[in-house]
């Protein structure tokens, strides 16, 4: 895996008009995979994930001049990615005029449409179980289990107290366990 300079160094490069594009490209390369997988786990489909990810990094290009130094770039980026993913799902719901349960079902169907989908495999069962979780629990489980994010950082990304996040994670794990045991 390629090593990248510290975020502050990259931000300095971005703020200099001469090196702006270089600094931005480095930031994109540094975070693109993490952000992609975070988005992909939420929207499931690759094309949808690609559209959302492009929107995320365009927002970063436009908003990085106003980015405050007191916040961490990493949490700011995850916040944008999360909001963009949720906005995308919200649009999908409106487009299809369906409720959360139906969009959860639609995401499970997208999952089943994957060419590698195999419900006999435990990793696919886990993905189906995740898609059945309520939106907030799905986000918390994804950020904790896959992104290994601390509750403190997560509270900045999701604007929720650490106590509430711990409770959400606990409920999410229990629901996944129940689904795997019963399927």
């Amino acid at each position: 895996m390629a090593s990248f300079p510290d975020d502050n160094e990259l931000l300095l490069l971005f703020r200099d008009p001469v090196t702006k594009e270089r600094g931005y490209t480095q930031l994109v390369k540094k975070y693109q995979e993490k952000i992609y997988w975070h988005i992909r786990r939420l929207v499931v489909d690759h094309d949808d994930a690609n559209d959302v990810m492009q929107n995320v990094f365009i927002k970063v290009w436009k908003g990085l001049d106003q980015f405050r130094e007191d916040a961490r770039f990493y949490t700011w980026l995850y916040r944008i990615a999360t909001n963009e993913s949720l906005s995308f799902l919200e649009k999908e719901k409106k487009k299809a005029s369906v409720s959360f349960e139906d969009i959860s079902l639609a995401l499970s169907e997208k999952l089943a449409a994957d060419k590698d989908f195999d419900l006999s495999k435990i990793e696919w069962k886990l993905q189906v179980a995740i898609q059945k979780l309520p939106e907030k629990q799905k986000l918390v489980f994804s950020l904790r289990y896959y992104e290994e994010m601390s509750y403190q950082e997560m509270s900045k990304v999701l604007d929720t107290t650490e106590g509430a996040l711990k409770a959400s994670y606990h409920h999410a794990v229990k629901k996944i366990e129940e689904f795997i045991l019963n399927s």
Partner: protein, 204 residues
Amino acid sequence: MLNRADILSELHAISPLVEKLPFSPVFTVPEDYFTHFHQILMQRIQKEENQDVSAELGEISPLLAAKLTKKMPFSLPEGYFSEAILPPSTEAPVVQMFPAKRARVLYAAAAVAALVGIFSLFFLIGNNEKNLTPDLHVFSELPKMNSTELNSYLLNSPDDVPADPLPLAGLDEVDFESLINEVNDNELSEFLTENPSLRIESLN
């Protein structure tokens, strides 16, 4: 950021089953997707920032881009933009304290109040005159009465005439006598000449 061991340790406490699930990606990504993503992204950003209006329209509708013109079909009065523009007035604007409608209401209320005041004044004066009139009439009519009529009135209305009128005037007989003595004969004669009806026949 935590490490994997921290996450698994926490997960073990909640659900040992989920802790043991394989941590392997199930989704696939098109080949070289991450290699070229930043290039695709930069192309989109540059395109958005340097978007030419005509080129954008050409992409959406080549037909409209070829046929449409920016020339406006509307006409303007001659010299509309070349006419001298008058400088704004330097006078301070007049600000009405009361709007015209409110002022009219205030004027009407003032007129009604004035009329009520004037009528009240006439009413009070009229009442005072009425109160004064009986006395004035008695004094003006008295000289016209002769002593026979007066005696007849006093005999027929004994209750209206006080037995002794002097106390009513705040005088006693001593005062009366002293007052009479102060009047000389000439003044008394003059008074009787002016008021012949008061002359007592027997004194003649």
